[in-house]
Amino acid sequence: MGSGNALILWGRLLAPSLRSARNRLRRPTGRGVAKGLLFALAGAAVWAGVYGGVLRALVYFRSTEAVGDLLVAKLLTMLCLLFLTLLVYSNLVVSLSTLLLSKDLDLLASLPVPAGVVFLRQFSLGLLHSSWMFLLFGTPVFAAYASLYAAPPLSLLVLVVGLAGFLLIPACASGFLILVFGRIFPARRVREAAAVGGILLFAALYLAFRVLQPERLADPGSFRSLLGYTLSLQAPGSPALPSTWLSNLAFEALRGQWSNATFYLSLIVTTGASLTIVLAEVAARIYPSLLSRAQEAGGRRRRRETAGSRPLPVPLRWLPHSLGAVILKDTRTFLRDPTQWSQLVLVAALIIVYLYNFRVLPKERVPLPTFDMENLLAFVNLGLCGFVLVAVAARFVFPLLSLEGRSYWILRAAPMAARDILLGKLLLGLAPILGLGLFLTVASNLVLGSTRLMHVVSAGTTIGISVAAVTLALTFGILYPRFNIENAARIPTGVGGLTYMVTAMAVILAVLAIEAWPTYLLFSARYKARGLSTAEWAAILGLFSAAGILLAGVSALALHRGLRALARLEP
């Protein structure tokens, strides 16, 4: 088949996806319009926020005497490496679904179309789906650089072409990996292997990046000598990495250095194009057999041999039978799904970096008394810890009901009250979130060396925040269920997840605002070694009680709303 015919077929195969997108835009429902507007606004706000933040940082860095431009260039190299890593990861996850697990593969494979064209169609959709995040977070970075250097308009065009070529490179790399994995494992195992491998890679890079302490580049004082600092800045990224080519292209084009820019542009575009051609050739040969393997079941997966019926595990025996059974079922489902438990690796990396941040904090250079500083940080830490808890609850608690998926009918048909279903999910979500919250606050307070009083305030507040974060996550998960989404990580990415995050963060900020003054009063009295008046004690108790009442009220209201919604929720 000629390449012209292949291109026409490719276009025809893509048409249904494009038409579906057009139909969604043309015929939005009332709720759809609101969702679309909310997403557009949120997207614009994120874009503007990233642009503003990066530009501000760049102006600051560039003002550094003698090394300003080097610093800004180094930062771009690091950011491009980060983009490349994220793109490889997201392409790996998305391509796996589009190339091997997509529901329309049956139909596509039965059409009189060469498998190579089917592959190209799925590859193109994967590329689109995995690159939109880059548009949101990557383009404002380059726009900020363009503003910083008052770049000529032609450089923007060069950059757009370069970015298009750059996006092809991680997509092709992931495509090759999927083809190799697909030859080795059945499709279901490939998904699990890729998910675990991708997360391990991501966590390792995240930890490595943090331990390198990139913030030191903005602080020449932390280096032994100016020469060491300058050498560190001048050390280029690996010349073999496409991220280095992109950062060089951007830096040269934005400053109007056309001959260098042309070299890097050619390097990126020819690499992207030739990788795509080679991938298409390889795929034309082996994709048909992969499509066939993708239809095969994953083989038998034998669990431990058992005879007869087993009782519930000891920790669940004190619960009513049905409640224990639901918790056991959810726990088993979680632990047997590598795409689920592997996310715990990310949480572990997050905890390590979280505590590491406090350890490397340059407290000694802050012009505040040590006593105040440590306790101030411990108080601010409550907000950070709250944010982490909300994010973790969004990932693990929010999807708890949606993960019932199309099996939700089983619980609804069973003689279980909605209250028991809610309670089962609540207990399952609360225990780990509460444990994580207390671990983070206690450990970070120990690292900071804060006082015993601060430990008590932190622990009390964290318990309240954990309960509120979990009850809100459960309730929003019930109000915005997504039973049709199998990938748990995608469940909280819709309007419901976003609304939950905003609501929970607002509650945490309100609690911290209420607690700020009484905490300050307690510490200043202690620091100045003076007693508190009765009125001050009354105010302190009143405000802490108000924070407690707010958290308890939010949790109770959330549970009430969640219960009502669950009772009405039909499978």
């Binding site: 279901r188 079941a297 994953g298 083989g299 038998r300 997966r301 034998r302 669990r303 431990r304 041999e305 058992t306 007869g308 019926s309 087993r310 009782p311 519930l312 039978h321 049905s322 224990g324 059974a325 639901v326 056991l328 079922k329 088993r332 489902t333 047997r336 799904d337 998926g405 199309r406 099996s407 009918w409 089983i410 609804r412 048909a413 069973a414 003689p415 279980m416 009250a417 009405r568 039909e570 499978p571």
Partner: protein, 248 residues
């Protein structure tokens, strides 16, 4: 066993079920027939407690489903048309889960689970994850799960989908045997041969309304031709409902 009084369900502005009145006796196998979109699955899902009626009453075993939904569900077994079950549990774990939910004691669960797995020829696969089961195996496991607590009423939506002829025969014989032992079976089906073979009475539903009710012979009598197969009776009833009775 089942009493439906003016049962009604409206989705947005579409009336799916329009005032269904029905009585099904203990030990009876009742078949609900109807064309696509007639309201069969809606009826089954409301009986199973999966959907809330817009109006009317459901009384099962003397209990009002609106007043005591948990009590009603305790005496039900449900087999949906598509066997979506927990993929990451093994067959045995799925049955253990249901046994716990239905409050079966350890002794009876220990006895019933292997019995069920053997009967439905899943014993060899009992320790495999459900995700590796074929469609027919999942359907058999769903049926085993619905019967694990020996319900008084079995509600079935399209019971034979995905079963091979041998398994289908076994399930039909099982239903007949269960009904003889006093279990009531309410099934919705497109399989008119099966309805004719095992149902004591059938109801024909069209556009949310019950248009005929009785034993298959009663329906033949109603259309005036005792030699017709149930399929032809059904088609004639539905056509009459749509176009009015044929005039000679």
């Amino acid at each position: 066993m089942i009493r439906l009084h003016g049962l009604r369900k409206v989705y947005a502005s579409r009336v799916a079920l329009d005032g269904l009145d029905l009585h099904v006796a203990h030990g009876e196998i009742f078949g609900l027939l109807g064309p696509n979109g007639a309201g069969k699955t809606t009826t089954v899902r409301m009986l199973a407690g999966l959907l809330q009626p817009t109006g009317g009453r459901i009384v099962i075993g003397g209990l009002d489903a609106a007043q005591d939904p948990i009590g009603v569900k305790r005496c039900l077994g449900v087999i949906p048309d598509r066997p979506f079950i927990y993929e990451k549990l093994t067959g045995q774990e799925y049955l253990e889960f249901l046994a716990s939910i239905y409050g079966m004691n350890g002794e009876s669960a220990r006895r019933r689970i292997p019995e069920s797995l053997n009967f439905f020829e899943l014993h060899e696969w009992r320790n495999e994850l459900v995700e590796t089961y074929s469609h027919g195996m999942r359907q058999r496991l769903t049926i085993a799960g619905a019967l694990i607590h020996s319900p008084k009423l079995l509600i079935v939506d399209e019971p034979m989908v995905g079963l091979d002829p041998r398994a289908a025969r076994r399930v039909k014989d099982l239903f007949v045997g269960l009904a003889k032992n006093g279990m009531t079976i309410f099934l919705s089906t497109h399989s008119l041969d099966m309805a004719e073979e095992i149902c004591h009475r059938v109801g024909v539903i069209n556009q949310g309304k019950l248009i005929a009710l009785g034993a298959p012979d009663d329906l033949r009598r109603a259309v005036g031709d005792r030699t017709l197969r149930l399929e032809e009776v059904f088609l004639r009833l539905v056509e009459e409902e749509r176009w009015g009775p044929e005039t000679p």
